[in-house]
């Protein structure tokens, strides 16, 4: 099973590099989330399931959500935001579609 461990560690390195290289902030958050997910699998392989649970809940769950909320507050998710604004203009004040 050492083979699986090497694959996971390789993924970890790839994710870590990809987070810093990716230009799109949304993408880098998603990659960071997958990094946490891989890390939690590695924790299980290292026989510490309690850390794996915590990593999955905090690293992959809560941290990612906080990043998303921050991005939304900073209006950094540009493409989506513009689409929504265009949609709102077309609807002409109507709230429901």
């Amino acid at each position: 099973m050492d083979f699986l461990m090497y694959i996971l560690l390789g993924f970890l390195v790839v994710c870590a590099v990809a987070v810093s290289i990716s230009k799109n902030l949304l993408n880098s958050i998603l990659i960071f989330m997958s990094y946490s997910l891989i890390m939690s699998i590695i924790w299980i392989r290292l026989e510490s399931p309690d850390l794996a649970i915590t990593e999955a809940a905090v690293g992959a769950g809560v941290t990612t959500v906080l990043f998303f909320v921050t991005l939304k507050k900073l209006h950094t998710m540009k493409e989506q935001e513009e689409e929504k604004e265009a949609g709102a203009d077309q609807a002409g004040g109507e709230k429901h579609e």
Binding site: A57, L66, K72
Partner: protein, 313 residues
């Protein structure tokens, strides 16, 4: 008499709110809105554009070119240096799982051999962090408490601004909740809550414990808020509940752990029955402390999300 007051009088006056030392002692001016002249603004823009052209004229500015090139080279070299230093340090580390490693000393041996007898917890990790080193965990819980306090100080809006201003309304473009998310959350949220409570209550028997269970609970609550909105969540979790849980859990934890350590901690007669190892109601103080830590962590997670999202709970 009224000219000279003793410190005690001054303090009592300030304490009972009769005399505020800052009222009428400091000059207070009404703030005027800052107005920008159209002309100065244009001049400023022009100047800025000129300066920008001058400085970033890369074809003629040799210094900038040299700086950029050396910056890239030095950056790569610094990275490589750091990587090589860290890899060198790792290569000196002993191999994982070797019995002759320095971390396999008498401390861990005593914990592993006497853990079940001293703490009554089947899960050695829980016995270690919540019984042998309970004060460490108390410090960590305090850190969580202080972190949420700081986030509240920075991001919390007052009651009026929360309800009136559009600043907190980040659902302007999506007033309706997502139907798919709601249906899935209806199925998933109870399961997540039950799993979180299970992990919390079984901290001394199986892997997990207060922190993991609390994190799962908090994540479940965030999912619930996302699906059903803040109004529904406030029916069972508003600011009052949050304050009571947060402060109450920390205080009870402090009292419990102080009692535990004053009565002699592990191995001595401290009037706390250890029970039969493997049962839910066993392991002395570990179970209540697990629950308290879990509540604290769940509140922290949810409060972070709510404060980031709309500046209020």
């Amino acid at each position: 008499m009224s000219e000279k007051k003793t410190h005690k009088q001054k303090f009592s006056e300030w304490f009972y709110g009769e005399n505020d030392p800052f009222v009428a002692a400091m000059p207070v001016q009404e703030q005027k809105e800052h107005q920008v002249d159209e002309k100065t603004l244009q001049e400023y823009e022009k100047e800025r554009a000129e300066r920008h052209e001058k400085v970033f004229d890369i074809a003629h500015n040799g210094k900038i070119r040299a700086f950029r090139r050396s910056y890239r080279v030095l950056g790569v070299m610094m990275c490589l240096l750091m990587i090589s230093i860290l890899l060198l340090a790792v290569s000196y580390l002993p191999r994982t799982g070797n019995p002759a490693n320095p971390d396999n000393n008498e401390v861990s041996r005593v914990y592993i051999e006497n853990g079940l007898q001293d703490t009554g917890a089947v899960n050695v990790v829980a016995g270690m962090i919540l019984s042998y080193r309970a004060f460490d965990t108390f410090g960590e819980t305090n850190v969580l408490f202080i972190a949420t306090c700081c986030v509240m100080i920075l991001l919390m809006l007052d009651e009026k601004a929360l309800h009136t201003s559009g600043l907190s309304n980040d659902r302007f473009y999506e007033p309706k909740n997502d139907w798919i998310l709601q249906k899935i959350a209806k199925i998933l949220v109870p399961i997540i809550f039950v799993f979180g409570i299970y992990v919390m209550l079984n901290g001394h028997i199986s892997p997990g414990g207060g922190f993991s269970g609390g994190a799962i609970l908090g994540a479940g609550m965030i999912l619930y808020v996302n699906a059903f909105g803040f109004k529904k969540t406030q029916k069972f979790f508003n600011e009052t509940v949050y304050k009571v849980i947060k402060v109450g859990a920390l205080c009870i934890y402090g009292v419990l752990i102080t009692y535990f350590f004053f009565m002699g901690a592990n191995g001595l007669n401290n009037h706390i029955p250890l029970g039969i190892p493997g049962h839910i109601l066993s392991a002395g103080l570990i179970l209540p402390i697990d629950v308290l830590v879990g509540l604290e962590v769940a509140c922290t997670m949810y409060a972070f999300y709510a404060l980031f999202r709309r500046g209020g709970l």
